[in-house]
Symmetry: C2
């Protein structure tokens, strides 16, 4: 969270925007928190929403009309947005309860034109916005140049770091083999090419990574995969150096971004696949204007990318051992230092990052560490700042959710630790969360089962006490890619994607008592085939990847079944045997104690 907006700055920028809109005959303009690739992280030069409004959350949209303006955010950001924006300029709306379409219906007048930058909205998103405009007789009008870019004079430069090779021994499959397999499927569908706009798809397909956005090694670019397995890669100058060009090989034609439009237009009269849920509306406009036969369907890289191969899973196991050693050093340090009451959230997060960096293999954190003491732990998407920083006090809980980007894998782990002696109620709640975590970790399920079907296993122990948590139970995780990736997830929301061997997902039930404490226990798990004697169907199960002790002081053994106690003891034995040899003797001694059988 950045410091609050200087008074008046946002008002001035909005006024300047309105003046531009008036010149262009527009009644308003939509400013989403998005770049041309629709990822969770965007480069600084694409932070247009933050520039205009001051709001720095990872999702949201502002709409500026002549007379009024609103910003739409989700439940994670309703508090933060109030601290960051100028309420004299923007109304704040909860995007689910008061959707932009409703606001437009009240606010837009018939015959008017609402401008939007078709690079920054997916085709599906633009269609929703268009329907809202048309419902009041207004028009959604694409702009050729984003008016914010004309006003934003001190705009940061585009990220310049070159793309990097993702080595074949970590990728586990050559780009040529991946491209051949996908090309065959395109040919089967009778499609001549697929337009790729998601940086993780391009990274996976070409075995490359980049340094274009924080926390995620995305190589921002566009690509077209042809049905002969060749690829046209549209990347700014300087992104592909000689070594990378050699790695890419002769089947990959590197072209400047300016050539993308022409390449799309070249599909006149031919069938081309593009994903309306993820690709910018602009892509569809260019394809359709050129007379291409657009087949709308899912990005073909997403599913094979989600199903990690043996080399990627080995990499994940290595990354998790290394990361578990760093986290275990941190937990041992915390056990030594915290009871004195001198550790605060910032110091703790800094210490944990230092231990991860001392592996010398950390490329970046996989997200900003959530380091929440006491009541701050109950804020699900908490990010510590100097203003909110709290000391870890005896009798409280401390929640730390963090992860690392390593070349061989991406980690994401949450531990909740008792500072001093916990109250009985904290132990009960922690143990209920643990029961849910174990139920999911030990689940066996038939092939074809979705994460939606498994979600309740992680909640039922809390439900029995009349408790629950308001976030998903698990998200997909990339292989040295995004810490949040689809298409699979474990959630209350319906999802038709079956869990498949090799998929990595988080297992993270929690419990949050507002103003008091938060509890979350998160391990990453990989879907694997289950060997069950006498099984009548292909069955799947989870392999737990994350290795770090779970605070025994918070486990009320009386609430666990024998099987659950057995799981904790076996997991702790595995943590001790694997991590013990990787850490210093003091940490190893602490770990022996921390992983004693219950």
């Amino acid at each position: 969270m950045t410091s609050p907006e200087p008074p008046g700055r946002s008002a001035g920028r909005v006024a300047a925007l309105r003046a531009l809109l008036a010149q262009d005959g527009l009644q308003g303009f939509a400013v989403p928190r998005a770049d041309e690739h629709q990822g969770e992280y965007v480069p600084p030069h694409a932070e247009r929403l933050a520039w205009l409004t001051g709001f720095t959350g990872s999702a949201g949209m502002a709409i500026v009309l002549v007379q009024k303006a609103a910003i739409f955010v989700d439940g994670r950001y309703t508090l933060q947005v109030g601290d960051q924006i100028d309420p004299a300029v923007f109304e704040v709306r909860h995007i689910a309860e008061q959707p932009a379409s409703d606001w437009l219906r009240e606010s837009l007048s018939g015959g008017g034109r609402l401008g939007y930058d078709p690079w920054l909205h997916t085709a599906d998103g633009a269609a929703r916005l268009r329907a809202a405009c048309e419902a009041v007789g207004a028009e959604l009008a694409p702009v050729a140049e984003n008016p914010i870019d004309r006003l934003w004079t001190d705009r940061p430069l585009r990220p310049g770091a070159p793309f990097e090779i993702h080595p074949p021994e970590l990728a586990g499959e050559t780009s040529a083999d991946k491209r051949a397999a996908l090309a065959e499927k395109l040919a089967e569908r009778g499609v001549e090419a697929a337009v790729l706009t998601l940086p993780d798809s391009i990274a996976w397909l070409l075995n490359i990574r980049g340094r274009d956005v924080p926390r995620t090694p995305f190589p921002l670019s566009f690509a077209i995969l042809h049905s002969d397995g060749g690829v046209s890669l549209f990347a700014p100058a300087g992104k592909v150096d000689a070594a990378l060009a050699q790695h890419l090989g002769s089947d990959i034609a590197v072209e400047p971004p300016e050539a993308f439009d022409g390449a799309l237009a070249g599909f006149a009269g031919r069938k081309v696949l593009a994903d309306p849920a993820t690709a910018a509306d602009r892509i569809f406009q260019v394809l359709e204007a050129a007379g291409a036969l657009v087949e709308r369907g899912a990005d073909p890289c997403q599913m094979p990318k989600a199903c990690k191969n043996a080399a990627e899973l080995d990499g994940a196991r290595n990354a998790h051992r290394r990361d578990g050693a760093a986290l275990t050093r941190f937990l041992a340090w915390l056990a030594r230092e915290a009871p004195a009451g001198d550790v605060d959230e910032l110091a703790a997060a800094g210490r944990l990052e230092r231990y991860r960096r001392e592996s010398n293999l950390l490329r970046d954190l996989s997200f900003d560490t959530i380091s929440g003491a006491g009541p701050n732990g109950a804020i699900v998407h908490y990010r510590v700042t100097p203003e909110t920083n709290r000391r870890l006090e005896p009798g409280s809980l401390y929640l730390v959710d963090s992860g690392g980007q390593y070349a061989d894998g991406t980690t994401d782990v949450t531990r909740t630790v008792a500072i001093g002696a916990p109250m009985a109620e904290m132990r009960r709640h922690f143990t209920l969360v643990l029961k849910g975590h174990i139920a999911l970790a030990t689940a066996r399920f038939p092939a074809g089962t979705t994460g939606s079907q498994l979600d309740s296993l992680a909640r039922m122990a809390l439900w029995a006490d009349g408790l629950d948590y308001d976030h998903g139970t698990g998200h997909g995780v990339g292989s040295y890619l995004s810490v949040h990736e689809g298409p699979q997830r474990i959630s209350k929301l319906p999802n038709s994607i079956a869990l498949q061997p090799g998929m990595i997902v988080s297992n993270e039930p929690g419990y949050y008592r507002t103003g008091e404490y938060g509890i979350r226990i998160e391990n990453l798990v990989a879907v694997r085939e289950a060997e069950i004697a006498g099984a009548e169907r292909p069955m799947l199960a989870f392999e737990t990847l994350t290795l770090a002790p779970i605070d025994r002081a918070l486990i009320d053994r009386a609430l666990l079944t024998a099987d659950e106690t057995g799981w904790v003891d076996a997991y702790h034995a595995r943590v001790r045997d694997t991590i013990g040899p990787l850490v210093d003797p003091d940490t190893a001694a602490w770990l022996d104690e921390a992983t004693r059988p219950l």
Copy 2:
């Protein structure tokens, strides 16, 4: 299951149909197993599919083209259809794996017209068929008169029995109150009326029942609910006698079915609600031709009907006590008679029906009893016939799924019984099914939870052994109405309908070993609010309605947790205390033994 089709009969009927189609310039005709109300049961005069093909299953569709014909059925009926139809006339297709749309794409030629009776397809169903026709340049053409009706000379008469009063003390709410509440919602939506085509909606709204289809007290009719709370009821002559007319009162205008078209056409220029998922396509054609403003949305009676009020729940409890006494008498009889090896499936089903009838309150069975010995128990939708009838043999399992229609409630219960000494494997499988049953019966869950979210609780014990079952876990049940009703269900399939207090659903996990035995344990349960000390959210739970012992000989206690054993013992104590006083001394003595603590 009826006896097989006489050779050649179906060929003759199809030839006659083709001759009629040629006269009418049609390339083919679709014959669904449906009447104008789209219910699971249809009256004999609407069994057009059976007349044409010989197939008597409860779902399916034939399409007869000039050169070829096919019948489409689901997985329940793939065996039965092969026994009943003439393979020289009809190809058999599995409706999910080889949908009619694919077959039409291969079989229909451009420019042709496929006829259909718009009374027998929902608007959504007709739209799917139309899309399949249009994909090959053909047309879906409504017929004014169903050609089958012109050929079917010995067609049964329409059912003539008059409608009956459903007494207010059982309904728990007057029709006037129900109509006023719905009328207010229609007015809020700005809709002038709702077209009602589902007999259960009309039965619920007007507190009436009928005798028009087997096993379900449906009053076949159409109705229009006006936003002032008045209703136009379109029913054949003789359906509404003087007593019923008085019960209906002056706000219900009874009109002949011939007046329905004119009433629909009267909505020219006015807003009227109709449900495309359940109402016949014909309704929409008439409304749209007249220039009505059709609002497409769910039938407004379905949700309030699903949420039973206090009187309906009391009725359900009474019906389940009475029904449980009959089933307990049967189980005691079976325990005495079956070990000698002289009981067969037909005799058992007959004996069970006799005990139900001896209550003198049984209106009908709620469906044809599933009485499956040994391998027949593994056929999920088995119906015993003289040809398939088996003896209940020592060392086997017997599965009986049955229910009764009483004026105060509809029951549906399955018990699986060991005949003589069961094998260890049977006990293990039965106990895994029981664990799933208990997990669902004891689940607590937050308001807003859907049946899809709870489904896996009933399966996880089987999954752990690599086993599963290929049917839903629970279906809604009416209040002296259909034994299968929506919109809620407990199933692997996504469903957005939250479970709400008063909804009755079945809890029926199972396990089926083809060629050997089937296991299912089914109780009906009612959703209720859960009182949980310290609960932070509104929580729900289930009240088990069904009362009959679960075979102790099949329970492997070593596989149960202490909580699960406690549930069985408490359930059995409740069965003993409730049913014991209602049965003869011999049965009561047997029940005492059958409900001993584990």
